[in-house]
Amino acid sequence: MSRIQPSDLRRIAWRTLLLQAAFNYERQQGIGWAYALDPALRRIYPDDALRRERLAEHTAYFNTQPTLASVALGAALAAIGDRLFWFTLRPFAACLGVLFAVLGSPFGALALLLSYNAIHLVLRFTGVRIGHAAGPGVLGSGLRDRLEAMVRRLGVLGCVLIGVLVAALLAPGGEPATMTFQATLIGGLLFGMLAALRSRPSPTQWALGLGALCLLAGFRR
């Protein structure tokens, strides 16, 4: 059995970008997991038949947060990964981009991409090395604490960011928005806070309903 080389870890890291290429309900990320793990299996199992057997086993069910899959590959991260990337960093980056756009800057998209990928891609590509070095104890190495701290800080920053964004919408360019706009924005915020108490209907379903009402109001004029 040969030692895994840094070049193997790099290849695995690149392959994690396709972790969800063949996502399905039965095996979820199974194919992507096997595909990403293949360079390590080639190193560990020189015997082709044995390697293919291991590769086939790894096509079974697997699912985790895609970015932290690198760490898992290198070394039960789904929950912290979901909270960090899907529930915190992604909406934070989206709101940052929207703030730039609302302030009239054409760089909103760039701000969104940079703020998200500065953490996402770095963790994708270094995660394999971290997981490989730490092994199964990767969660005890302080990584989980650092990720949890990142979630907390981004949560607070996210609240501040939305406060700034709402203020920018209420007073664009230093001039107060129209009373209609201000009233309906605040109405939307209050309604949204109430709607957030239940997962159904979804925000999009609520928005479609509100859109239909606004169309009715516009066409009754």
Binding site: G173, G192, Q205, C214
Partner: protein
Amino acid sequence: MNAAPLATAVLGGVAALDAEPVAQTLFSQPLVTATVLGFVWGDWATAFEVGIVLQVLAASTLPVGSRTPEDYATGGVVGVGVALALANHEAFTIAKQGCAMLGVLVGMVVATAGIPLLKWKRRTNEGLARWCEEAVRAGDASAPARAQGAAIVLSFALGVTYTALCLGVGIVLLDRVAAQESLRLAHAWTLARPLWLGLGLAQVLSAFLQRRLTRGVAFGAALVATWMFLMIGGH
């Protein structure tokens, strides 16, 4: 003129790739694709009007539990694309606002209608996964790579086709409506835009707050401080 719709359809395929199969860099987010489409169609104002609203709504769509979230990757491209195509014929700002209203509605409908398509694609990938395991056990170690490639091609093709279809149907059905009802649509837009923004931002804020009073205080303080800065600093 013909290049813009074609480029929009291709962008839909690229966004479909980024959303799930490849890298998930957030290139597929509505604000990013709206920026690209604003360049392609030469109308940044309309693109950003629609892109901002769809982005806020997309940000509020959190993947909770086993629920498949709305497909704002293609929904964003189609919504902005329809708005830009309709606004292309309009000279006045108020008419373009009416097109923006239609664009956001189309974007949300397309995003919602994309859920069964996403589920169908994932079910198709189940067959691919079973084939892959059988092929590997039979001696074909390159099967995972080929399965990944096939899945990527399927995602791209579905994204392009779905975008092109929805873009075409949207433009054909709404062109006359946009031209004849622009005032009413613009009035609806003045009501809907802040409502949608408020709804979406509140959903995201609720996720950040986590029912912690200190975070609520942070939100309030930032809002008041920024508002005062803008109002006082602007005079």
